[in-house]
Amino acid sequence: MSTETENRFQTALKEIFSTSATRTVLSVFLGFVVGAIFMVFSNEDVLKAAQYFTARPMDTIAASWSAIADGYSALFRGAIYNYERADDPVAAFRPITETLRFAAPLIAAGLGIALGFRVGLFNIGGNGQLMFGVLWATWISTRVELPFGIHLVVAILMAILGAALLGALVGFLKARTGAHEVIVTIMLNYIAANLLTYFFREESLLRETGGGGTPKSDAPAITAQLPKLLGEDYTLHLGFALAIIAVVVYWWLMERSTIGYRFRMVGHNPHAARTAGINVERTYMYAMAASAAFVGIAAANQALGATSGLSPSVDAGIGFDGITVALLGGSTAPGVLMAGLLFGAFKAGSAPMQVMGLSPEVLGIVQGSIVLFIAAPPLVRAIFRLPKPQKTTVLKDLVKRSSKGEEK
């Protein structure tokens, strides 16, 4: 009896260590380790100390340690809490609000890409959809006058609608002609980027009033700007709230709604879905539109969260970052939320690292490594000697046993 409980405990323990949550944490840890390695080997003090490594190895180790500590403490100060300004609470807590502000569009775009993944579509066109959404939203926010409140709502809806239309076009082309969504979305990325630049360049369209030759738009009208959430001291705006709403909507859509059930069914096995009477082509179209609609929330964030004019680089690569966010988040609502927050923290923490003379691009390496480890479960398992995930879970086992017991 006691051995059996022990076995069951061991099995449970094994399961905890082979679940994706543990693996995710370990992957993030490994990502930071890889980043630390790059910090060490690009640090001048370390390289100097390494020249006399055999004579005084502790120097090298100390220099390495301080390189890593300096780098990651700068990240912490920039992204979470600035303890160097502890005297001034406003300044001390500003970093965490910046993290939330940067995370908002990443979360929204990540949800969009994640939705595609769940349906078996690879939406690599987040950037294009975002730019198309920005185009529509900027038109409303700078060229149309509407009363306070309505203006913002219309502008947000237009951002979502604009992006969703471009997504629907991809889905339509895929459904009608079988054109591969990867190639279509890549092409639309370029087309949308050029279209936006053109609109920002032409005086009669969206160019800044009285602006010069560089393509730039006006700042969104005050009535169409996303209002600040925490007063004037912080730049955090309503965009973050929109992203949180998007997370909830995504969860409901994918886990609770009929259409979400269809999405997942097509994603699991399109042939089986077709046999079950689902119109797979039409589902692809809806899914692309829905995927792009979430990206459109990121577009609203970029277009209406600004207080000055927009440039054609308004996308900030969010459409592509959304892919890594979706991968890290395992395409689930809470996962994407956490992944978006992490990468938002990376963006917020870049500035203090730059000030220290450390290129913040090391965070790009951390970001890439994390997702690499996430993508390769066997690799992480091999590094930490974790057990393989069990095919039957304890819970199922128990249910089986109890049902057997009932039968007896």
Binding site: A179, V184, E361, A375
Partner: protein, 423 residues
């Protein structure tokens, strides 16, 4: 043209879409006739086919811009009508018809852009070829890995690796050949990661590809700003390969200078594209590779080692992409720049599909994009008033139309992206 259609060879959609070709042609004809012809200006265009110092200089050809637009527009209308006739007789318009159509449309576009100016044809063509090389080689890498059933999204990362290593190793060792070798080996190692993860660990191939791109971009960006930007003289000043003029051949008018006055990277690409075609379609090795990509189980049954075949084709494909990356730096401008590949790997991905996984078609598609890049630069020079954003858009729109209208439901190798688990 063969009219036999084996059942299952073409999908239902492909038979039904055959009318798209003439419809798309009609659209382009209308644009040429109206915008370039009727609404075009009467300013003259000088077509220069050869450089003045060429051995066989051809005379310049001078004509009014709108006249060219009208004449070509009428010819295009005739081709369109012919295509409609073919379709009504339930025949597929031949590929050469589309190619002739495209070429004429491009001539009309160039003439319209250069109204009151010159079209330096030799300049455009030779630059288009040089700019197409990285895309073409990236596409060859894509073909090599997709033909054996591994989707390669990491072309972008492979190009970037190649570009970076070629410039940096070339500078540090002061030897461009070592740089070239480093580029090929580095990109091959990156491919090995892709191959190992997708073949051994059975990780989703698209995901691995995306991740590798992110990682390479992160590493090269970091090393660039932390190291190359401060120590450019030592680490990022490789110079370029010399331009080799092939005697006799480079004297051919128009094509000679474009094809036979190039750097070694370009010549290697000229060799690799037909060599890949030969290996894929004319050798036992290629047959086995294609079998692995189409039906791994059957290939396994007749004794082909699926995993090993995939691994080596993907890896050698990486070497080719690395060469393409080297063509970006030491085969063209020399120094490495941030995010130097700038999405060309993704274009290569599109080129693979547009070229239907065939080396020659993909090479031609790559040339289209090379042409597009030089067109943007050139259009800015000859007619600054033109909205260049739209000119830049042209190749992407054309690709989109080609994929939607002409290529349609392309058939990838059947096992593309499918991991093979030996049962």
């Amino acid at each position: 043209m063969k009219t036999e259609v084996t059942p299952g060879m073409f999908s239902q959609a492909e038979i039904a879409v055959s009318k798209k070709t003439p419809i798309v042609m009609a659209g382009f004809t209308a644009i040429v006739l109206v915008f370039f012809g009727i609404l075009g200006t009467g300013d003259v265009v000088v077509w220069q086919f050869t450089k003045p110092d060429d051995t066989f200089a051809l005379p310049d050809f001078t004509v009014a811009s709108n006249t060219i637009g009208l004449i070509i527009g009428v010819v295009l209308a005739a081709i369109t009508a012919y295509a409609f006739v073919l379709v009504s007789q339930k025949k597929h318009p031949a590929l050469w018809l589309s190619l002739v159509f495209g070429l004429l449309a491009v001539i009309a576009l160039l003439s319209w852009l250069a109204a009151g100016n010159k079209v330096q044809f030799a300049f455009i063509l030779s630059n288009a070829i040089v700019l197409a090389i990285p895309i073409a080689l990236g596409a060859m890498a894509g073909i090599m890995s997709e033909r054996v059933g591994v989707v390669n999204i990491a072309i972008e990362g492979q190009l970037l690796t190649g570009a970076f290593l070629a410039a940096v190793v070339g500078s540090l060792t002061d030897n461009l050949w070592v740089g070239l070798l480093a580029a090929m080996v580095g990109a091959a190692l990156l491919s090995m990661v892709l191959a190992t993860f997708s073949i051994k660990f059975l990780v989703d191939q698209i995901i691995v590809g995306v991740v590798l791109n992110v990682l390479v971009l992160g590493v090269t960006n970091f090393l660039y700003s932390q190291w190359l930007a401060n120590d450019g003289k030592n680490a990022n000043f490789p110079g370029t390969f010399p331009i080799i003029e092939i005697p006799v051949l480079s004297e051919i008018p128009i094509l000679g200078p474009a094809l036979f006055e190039n750097r070694i990277t370009t010549y290697l690409a000229f060799l690799i594209i037909p060599a890949l075609w030969f290996f894929l379609f004319k050798t036992k090795l290629g047959l086995r590779a294609r079998a692995v990509g189409e039906h791994p189980l059957a290939a396994d049954t007749v004794g082909i080692n699926v995993a090993r075949t995939r691994f080596w084709w993907v890896t050698i494909g990486g070497m080719v992409a690395g060469l393409g990356g080297a063509a970006l730096t030491i085969g063209s401008v020399g120094a490495f720049g941030r995010d130097m590949s700038g999405g060309q790997g993704f274009i290569a991905l599109a080129v693979v599909i547009l070229g239907r996984w065939h080396p020659f078609s993909a090479g031609a598609a790559a040339l289209l994009f090379g042409f597009a890049i030089i067109l943007r630069i050139w259009a800015n020079q000859v007619s600054p008033g033109i909205p260049t954003d739209f000119i830049t858009m042209v190749p992407y729109v054309v690709t989109l139309i080609a994929v939607v209208g002409f290529v349609g439901r392309v058939r990838a190798p059947a096992a593309d992206g499918q991991p093979y688990i030996k049962g």
